[in-house]
């Protein structure tokens, strides 16, 4: 743990940034259109993410949480509504919003781990080759993978691949780090250790995180604020605080109460 606690740090950051939220989503309606029909993924969803937030989008499948993340990343153009990052509209994908995906094939298999982490820095022209490799090595060290810098992605386990994906995203120092169910394809033990890792990195580096999950427990552990979405199409059901829940306190009455409250909000429509 660092000198200032994560809560204090978040509180300070939030107080400083309350005037202009880092990320604003306004009445966002997203649709997928095919020849035969239109599927509405989200309907007029609004929320604000403040600097230093660990903001979680939580909901059952079909609530449009991944679509929201794709739209914020710039991969999906909104049907209506606006997305503002630092007050400027999001129009296309960019290195200021790096995504960690669920799928392991997000890492180009032809690049060694270190080059994979440096690739984003070089491709986005943030820095030259040497500086990129230096920053990549540093980022690999923070996720404890220095030993595997020369390995190819296919030689790593699933958990290690996700660690590389996180290191790659952190090395780029994005304005907001987007995570799309990053641990859903991992086994339960690896998932738990990566959740801890994300919290540790956040306390260390103080980035802003937007995290998509369908697990109530994960939302409470990882998030500082949770947006609950109802499905078909996704609409905002509630926005809750989740700060102060730690892995050690999973069985605590407060944790269970919040868990049950979310369960009720999601299922007793």
């Amino acid at each position: 743990m660092v000198a200032t606690g994560p809560q204090e740090r978040a509180a300070l950051a939030a107080a400083a940034a309350v005037a202009v939220p880092l990320l604003q989503v306004r009445d966002l309606t997203l649709e997928y259109r095919s020849e035969h029909k239109t599927i509405r993924a989200t309907h007029e969803v609004s929320f604000n993410v403040q600097q230093g937030d660990r903001f979680v989008l939580l909901g059952a499948s079909g609530c449009g949480k991944s679509s929201l993340l794709k739209a914020i990343a710039g991969f999906l153009a909104p049907r209506s509504g606006r997305i503002l990052l630092d007050g400027k509209p999001v129009l296309e994908p960019g290195p200021d919003r790096v995504v960690v995906f669920q799928e392991f094939d997000q890492l180009p298999p032809w690049k060694r781990v270190l080059d994979n982490v440096a690739f984003g820095l070089i491709a986005s022209r943030q820095c030259g080759k040497n500086e990129a490799r230096g920053r990549a090595a540093q980022a690999l060290a923070t996720v404890g993978l220095t030993r595997f810098a020369d390995a190819f992605p296919h030689q790593l386990s699933g958990g290690m691949k996700q660690r590389v994906a996180i290191a790659r995203a952190l090395a780029m120092r994005p304005r907001v780090l987007l995570m799309d169910e990053p641990f859903a394809a991992l086994d339960a033990l690896t998932r738990r250790s990566l959740q801890e890792e994300v919290l540790r990195l956040w306390a260390e580096l103080g980035f802003t995180l937007l995290f998509v999950t369908h697990s109530i427990e994960e939302a409470l552990l990882v998030g500082s604020r949770i947006l609950l979405l109802s499905p078909h199409p996704g609409r905002v059901r509630a926005e809750l605080n989740a700060d102060g829940f730690e892995i050690a306190g999973i069985g605590s009455p407060a944790f269970q109460a919040q868990q049950q409250r979310i369960h009720r909000l999601l299922f007793d429509q």
Partner: protein
Amino acid sequence: MSHVFTHRPEFERELPPLPALAEPVSLSRARRLWQRDSVRQVVVLVLIAIAWELAARWAGNDLLLPGFLQAAQAWWSDLRNGELLTRTGASLSLLLRGYALGVVLALTLSALAVATRPGRDVLNTLTSLFNPLPAIALLPLALLWFGLGSGSLIFVLVHAVLWPLALSTLSGFQGVPETLRMAGRNYGLRGMRYVLQILVPAALPAILSGLRIGWAFAWRTLIAAELFFGASSGQGGLGWYIFQSRNELLTDRVFAGLATVVMIGWVVERLVFDSVERLTVRRWGMQR
């Protein structure tokens, strides 16, 4: 019905460090050699050569079936007097020119096809038109347009390489995982940089197999084309060497020419394509 568990005590254990692993048993030298594909292939080749020699001795007709040793002798003497080398050189230089042009065209076409919808329509239509057409069937037309000479041969070679390569490259591009595409765009890659840094390496297994098929098509097409002209173009290649030797009833040289065609095909396949694959897609775990 309820089950009654017998009482068993719980226990916890401290784990002592493991003893060192025993050295793996090494195979004998002969067994290790036999494990290698190339060694077994050589053995098969030797058996074929022996069978061929025996069949030739039994037939006893040099004009129809010269023996392996006789053909090997003809091959060796034409190799030493430089005839085979010049012929092979003529064939290969033509082949490389046609192949390179075909590859450039195929990659350009498939890059256009993956980037734009009209490009895809054009490529799909053209490949479905031309892919079933044997390249050699275009030779008469090529002769009409470009006359006797390397122009016509390069035209049919390009045709032999272009369509299969464009087809497999496009399907390789289309098979690039969505996540990898999004990761590339996330880094701000667009246009040609996106194609070269994401799509081409990600589609490399398909591109390499297209290059292999294109090479085999081009090589066959070239030899076939040379069979029916070559003298008039001034310097004939390997196909012409085979055809000429048959005209002069030098059947052992026909076999020597055929063997050279096979050997070059084999060398390119094994040394060039296999090595490229081993150094790229296999190493990256994209292909087993």
